[in-house]
């Protein structure tokens, strides 16, 4: 299955080529966009393949599973890679209008594609240790992107980010090591069979605890999300957007993958922990957002809150809830990235992200208002946009599982999301600009407006599309959830049919 390999080769090759082309900015930019487009193309073909024929797998270096490393794509992985391709193209184009040329010269494009390599690898690997490796690639690439600007606040954020994430990575490594010691395998499909056979419950629970911790930090769950609000508002908007879209979602993906395939989220204690963490994550995240006055800080805290909904879907561990979690992830990635991108345009037009210092955009740039409202209302769960269906499914699943407190939490958090989104709307768009002289704002020049607005319009269109034509997306989420809850097709794709 050359497609699986291609999905890794494309970002890797793009990273290398953009590095080689660092002295010719035009070429470098072209390569970066072309690489992102190629990744999207590959991911779409991969997605179509998996939709048509079920999970596919490829062994690396020709060593059969479980001895070598296997790449594998079931529908969840394929969907995640497709959405990664979409985001890759969006931020690659957006970056053309936003990234400081100095940052381009010293490696923005290379780091971006290295990050995409890590993300794609994490989604596609069928090997637990290999997943750890892709986590490291992501970690170091994102550290580079955070530190690229070199401003003191950026370095401060970068250090906090990398140090706290290292704790998570260490726990991950320890968990993998212990699990390998107990089962003798790293292949996740193989672990699916091996872990339930372990007669030592201590091993099962302590390794589960280590992995749960590691992925919770990555997903920015309560109470281990400190690194996220400490860093996400500091780098370039392009970088923020790609982080917001993908990094925590890799953590959620890992939680879903590991706690459906290797362990199951319905395990005693694990389920309770996930349920409580999901509720508190929703709540603390949105309250954090309500307390902020800076666009990107508000949006960053929102990420945390929304992660809560996804994890709630996993924690409920009913078929419908898993569908909700997957639908939520897909919707959220598109919407969240777009909000950051719009925030970047707001900054360009008004000169700041501090809500106290900006305003007047609904009068000066109503088109931007519409482009903001689409993802903002979607995030707040207003129908008929994508976020409404995502919330609807998760809440319906909570009610059906008779977790009324969590359903109520999800609803209240929805209201608080409306509130914090309206904060941006009231201050940045409705309020007159505090400095009347700047009220008109500066316009965007032609090239800039293409680079900045095309991705925003594209992502907004996807949001509307998911909302209005939700049925196919719901169907994909349903199939993906079925494959997670009954991984026999996944296991067969990796290990072959076994008696």
């Amino acid at each position: 299955m050359v497609l699986l390999t291609l999905a890794l080769v494309v970002p890797l090759a793009t990273a290398i080529l953009t590095f080689l082309a660092r002295r010719t900015p035009g070429l470098q930019r072209g390569l970066s966009v072309a690489g992102a487009a190629a990744l999207l193309a590959v991911s779409l073909v991969l997605g179509a393949e998996v939709v048509a024929g079920g999970p596919i797998a490829a062994t690396m270096g020709g060593w059969p599973a479980p001895f070598g490393i296997t790449l594998v794509a079931d529908l969840l992985s394929a969907a995640m890679v497709v959405i990664t391709g979409v985001i890759a193209l969006a931020v690659a184009v957006y970056g053309l209008g936003e990234i400081d040329p100095a940052e381009e010269r010293i490696g923005h494009h290379t780091l971006l594609h290295a990050l995409l390599l890590g993300v794609t690898g994490a989604f596609l690997t069928g090997d637990l240790f290999n997943l750890y490796v892709w986590f490291e690639v992501m970690l170091i690439a994102s550290f580079g992107l955070l530190a690229l600007g070199g401003r003191p606040d950026q370095l401060d954020g970068a250090i906090k980010y990398v140090a706290l994430n290292l704790v998570s990575t260490l726990a991950f490594l320890a968990g993998v090591g212990l699990l390998y010691g107990a089962t003798g395998t790293l292949n996740m499909a193989d672990l699916h069979g091996a872990v339930p056979d372990l007669d030592n419950a201590t091993v099962v629970f302590t390794t589960a605890a280590l992995l749960l911790f590691a992925f919770s930090v990555k997903s920015a769950l309560f109470p281990v999300f400190f690194w996220l609000p400490a860093s996400y508002h500091t780098p370039s908007v392009t970088t923020s957007a790609v982080f917001a879209a993908l990094l925590t979602k890799v953590g959620v993906y890992a939680l879903i993958r590991v706690f459906t395939l290797i362990y199951d989220a319905g395990m005693p204690l694990i389920q309770e922990l996930l349920l409580v963490a999901a509720g508190l994550t929703m709540l603390t995240g949105v309250l954090g957002a309500a307390a902020q006055n800076d666009i990107r800080r508000i949006l960053s805290f929102h990420i945390i809150s929304q992660i809560g909904y996804m994890v709630l879907g996993l924690a409920l561990y009913t078929p419908l809830a898993i569908v909700g979690a997957i639908f939520y992830i897909i919707h959220h990635i598109v919407v969240k990235a777009n909000l950051f991108l719009v925030g970047g345009v707001v900054k360009k037009l008004t000169g700041s992200e501090d809500l106290a210092r900006i305003g007047g955009l609904w009068a000066a740039a109503p088109w931007l208002g519409v482009l903001f409202l689409i993802p903002a209302l979607s995030l707040a769960g207003i129908p008929p946009l994508s976020g409404f269906w995502a919330k609807l499914v998760v809440i319906k699943a909570s009610l059906e599982a008779e977790h009324y407190v969590l359903a109520a939490t999800a609803l209240v958090v929805g209201l608080l999301t409306v509130y914090s989104m309206s904060k941006i709307w009231l201050e940045a768009f409705w309020k007159p600009h505090p400095e009347p002289a700047r009220a008109a704002g500066r316009g965007l020049d032609r090239g800039e407006s293409w680079a900045l607005l095309a991705p925003i319009v594209g992502l907004a269109a996807i949001t509307v599309l998911i909302g209005l034509v939700a049925a196919p997306f719901y169907a994909v989420s349903t199939t993906a959830a079925d494959q997670l809850l009954d991984p026999s097709a996944y296991v067969t794709a990796v290990l072959g049919a076994r008696p």
Binding site: I69, V133, V137, A147, S168, L178, V203, F226, L273, Y419
Partner: protein
Amino acid sequence: MAVVTAPVAAAADAAPTGRPLARYGPALGSATACAGFAALIPTIADYSSIRVAWPWISGLGVELSFLIDGLALIFALLITGIGALVLAYSASYFKGHHKLVRLLVLLVLFELSMLGLVLADNLILMFVFWELTTVTSFLLVGFDHEKADARNKALQALLVTAAGGLALLAGILLIGAVAGTLEASALPAAAAALKADPLYPAILVLVLLGAFTKSAQFPFHFWLPNAMAAPTPVSAYLHSATMVKAGVYLLARLTPALGGTGPWLWTLTIVGGVTAVLASIWALRQTDLKLTLAYTTVMALGTLTMFLGGASAIALAAAVTFLIVHAFYKAALFLAVGILDKKAGSREIDQLGGLARPMWRTWVVVALAALSMAGFPPFLGFIGKELKYEGALAVASEPLLVVTFAVAANAMMVAVAGLVAIKPFLGPRTATAAKAGEPPFAMWLGPAVLATGGLVFGIAPELVGAALVNPTASVMIGDRVAKDFKLWHGVNIPLMLSILTFVLGVVIYLALGRIRRGLAAGEAHGLWAAESGYDGVLAGTKALAAWQTRVIQTGRQTQYFLWTTTVLAALLWAGLAMGGFAVMPRGVEAISLIELTMLALAAFGAVATVVTRSRLLAILALGLLGSAVAAIFVFYGAIDVAMTQLLVETLIVVIVAVALLRLPRLTPAPGLEVRWGHLGVALATGVATALALTAVLGTELDRRITDFFEQASATEAFGRNIVNVILVDFRALDTLGEIAVVVVAALGAVALLTRRREHREASR
């Protein structure tokens, strides 16, 4: 569905040209749609309904299904009919305004959302439109968004109705779970199951929260008068004639499914009645005519709610009739107040007077509407009021209560009608009269048509009664209602009550000045402060948010570390507790002295790394730890692993030591401060990890893969050092990834150093 799409097409035509055709296009589209709906009246009058449906998200039970029955048709006619008049009015009211196009677009979007709301059969689909009306209303209330007041009021309307909306969503989902269907038309069949289900009280509370917030029932009423920050045509349309009735519509729609029970009856009667009476008192208190009308709208909504509580056919017919009556006179009066504001320059009752001569055409309209409002014959308002009293008497359980509420509210309505129709026009001339003049035709048309409607339908009540009210009441009661609509019923109790109402109304009108002063004094003492609940919740949420963020996101990395590690330790211990603490692994007793020595060295290295204040010592101690571990590998025969480990350790010590030479010294802190909490967490984590490890060591190692590596390394991968073969062949992808890590790290380091130099040079 051409009926529904007509306004869209018209809105698209409303290009920002300012040409009359473009400006009045939306109004024409809306009028066309209204005519289309009117064509359906004969079908509906025949007690039949029309349903169309397309699949949407079948997996969730969500369909694009639309239903036109009496209830839906009445609302559709009001929405499109009043919509046409308001759109025409707005085009004239905002002529030349730079935001005219924006206003028309938003109004048309609202109109479509509202239409969708009343036509949807699927409850989720209805909710979709429900929320869209909330959003468009938000944007319209904040139309004058340069004013902070308009912004805050818009936010208030949004939050109150959105909160109710979320409750409603939960209610709908529960209905779907219990009834097994989300189609409103299929719910009556499941009514018995719904009412018997243990979830019924929860469903009722959630649905009523949605309806009461949207329809401004006490104690959620406050957002509606505040929403008067919107331009007057918007208030007339959204906050009087249509959107605020969405809650009433919902109650009517769900009456067959949820209504008729004790909790339903009592809640609706009491909440509606209290809302109606309180709102009429507040209405008397106002001096701004627009606010007066806003409170009378709240009063009307309360009355409607109260009558929907009564399960009798007459009470429901009364509610439906009053719904129509109110839409006609209230929209007319709102639009007329807009005319006064525009042409006489004020909405304040005390500043208006003597306008009967300069604005006689407006006066005629206001007088007609006010007469209907006060319930004089032969206006439709009279029939509506008589029906109300008849309906009130028919409410089996508490007729006296309902009658009292109704008479009190109606009497105050008479007083308010007098206030609006008499004082500005016949009162003593004020400065405003001098410059006042008649409005343009397009502004006058709307109120004129509506006010005349109140008269025409009063004289020929069968036009609405048999055609619309009876089929609608039938939908709600689930049985054919064929009420006779007549102006004159002979001398009966309702007529007596009507006369009582007029007398009381006149008394109140005459005493109005004193009443207002009394109410103002009461207000100064903090009465009627339901809104403070909203303010309190909002302020409380903000304070909570600020507090929790201060506590959690302190900005101090040590604290983040402490918490993160504490969570890790807690999880590990929880895992150990769940799994049971393992006994010592096999072979412990066979540990040799030299192994123990290496262990001690490793432990010494670990402790030294942590406690030393010298970076160089720390890295050396770390190297010691690593080397001791490597030595242990040697004892167990893993020479290749040991070699790799030693190599890595040595390189790290050398490279870091070189780097350290270039770093500034740490200033040594006086004395060694021990953070006991940190120490405890560190120990807890370490011990738990060790216990987990012993548990693993207690299991038999599955050698499948190890055996494969040992056997295939030389024969298939052509390498003798298994570690090397694993790295470059069996698991080469890992290595590729790790190479990427190293290269990217180098790239990041170079970037950082370059930027440092650039920053330094820039600052020079």
